[in-house]
Symmetry: C2
Subunit: 318 residues, 2 copies
Amino acid sequence: MSFQGIEEAYNRISNIVNKTPVMTSRTLDLQLKANIFFKCENFQRVGAFKFRGAYNTLSLLSERQKEKGVISHSSGNHAQAIALSASLLGIKATIVMPKGAPENKINATKSYGAQVVFCDNTLEARTKTTKEIIKEQKFVLIHPYDNDDIINGQGTAAYELVKEIGHLDIVITPLGGGGLLSGTALATKGLCPNARVIGVEPSLADDALRSLKAGFIVPSTYPNTIADGLRTSLCERTFNTIRTYVDDIITVSEFEIIDAMKFLWERMKIIVEPSGAVPLAAILSKKISVENKKVGAILSGGNIDIEPFFQLLEKKIA
Amino acid sequence: MSFQGIEEAYNRISNIVNKTPVMTSRTLDLQLKANIFFKCENFQRVGAFKFRGAYNTLSLLSERQKEKGVISHSSGNHAQAIALSASLLGIKATIVMPKGAPENKINATKSYGAQVVFCDNTLEARTKTTKEIIKEQKFVLIHPYDNDDIINGQGTAAYELVKEIGHLDIVITPLGGGGLLSGTALATKGLCPNARVIGVEPSLADDALRSLKAGFIVPSTYPNTIADGLRTSLCERTFNTIRTYVDDIITVSEFEIIDAMKFLWERMKIIVEPSGAVPLAAILSKKISVENKKVGAILSGGNIDIEPFFQLLEKKIA
């Protein structure tokens, strides 16, 4: 992965990915005396930036690999991203999902034409089931972030943002496994070397902060944060990139995450999932000083189960 | 009101109103074999198209009227639109609101600097309170739709849409008092005379359809539809415009409205209030035939109380 890799990925995928809009809020900018530019990856295909990396990676597979088909284990946005990318490229995809994954995510994955295989709801069961299938069927495993092509793809979000807005003083992204943050750091430093790049993770899932302090990877204990996309651990690849290129790691509380989501829903009228709202949580809680600054914040996704809200609404009209 | 009036309004207010984005959905277009262009007035200032008409009207007041100040009675988007417009133009605004109006709407109205006066929660009480204040204080009453400048302002949404997208076969808007539909019809027919213009109202509030059939205004009984912005009756001004320029009126059920909202929230990741979702409700329920057509649909606003959903979320992390 590299700045050049991101530029190449951008040229490769820009006709297929959505050029997501950049949104601003007068209220917020006035309140903070800053210019905050939200890169709305909740409007990306499958509802999250994950499509960028998945499509970039699958389109770079050899013909032989494409014929074999791909496999991934995830209950989240990466699964849907692989399913849609495979479908667009005519590749067979299998997704290992835990039993009890949300119905809407299972249906979405199936609707893109992927085969869904269920396993028990533990990380071990997922890995084991996936390995067994690979042994038998020879599918190519696509890791959600421990992969240069994935990271180059994720970097195209920040690349697009900076190309559109111009110089930024700070660029902020959510931080889970570190794929988005790694790609963002490479893209941002390549286009405006003086920009600070900051990753934000939930306090409940602060394994990246602890890893950087320790100087080695402290694994995530798969904590129960509401930001379900940020529960994963770093890998060597993302750990080293973040150590080299990222300026700061900030943690936010569960309440700060919900407050930020609420601002995005209520004032900006956009649906952002908890994981996607952490950059704004860090800004609103004043943990990042943004006054007089031009700040890019990547709203990484918008996939959240809204069924409970609509059940309340339906009761009103019944 | 006229096409020329709308063009003039557009030139007058386009530096102040948000040029709202036009959004599309691959899923929807594929499913319907159509091109649906959503004009996202939920991203307008104050969260609804109402700001267009309010700002246009207040900026056209004489200096004497501006000095007197303005008054309006509403618990909805018009109130906030008048409050913000008045504040931007340095005009004193008073809003008469029913006791028990949602806290967030009261706070928003106050936050724009308007004075809020409470009255009982009946249409009679509102009118009476407003009249009493006007008698005493000589404020200028700004009606939410029985006003040419308001209608010209509302027409700028469709004007912007057609200017951006080019020829459309059909343009669809929500229909309550008829201000948005009247302005939309004038703008659309002015720019592409062959386009069909369609208004959509809740079946529970089908007073416009009944009025057109009867040939005279059948007043709304202020019905309890979930589309709270569409409960109002036509006035002579909007009735006559709609009779002359609008091609069809469609009604949709409460469940159809909720289904459409759900599509917008879940698939498009944008928050649209029930009143704003009725054009899509008419499309999804196949009451408007859109196959092979270029269709504009105005998503009129995004102001809905999301507090109940966030209370559910907060319980999760408590």
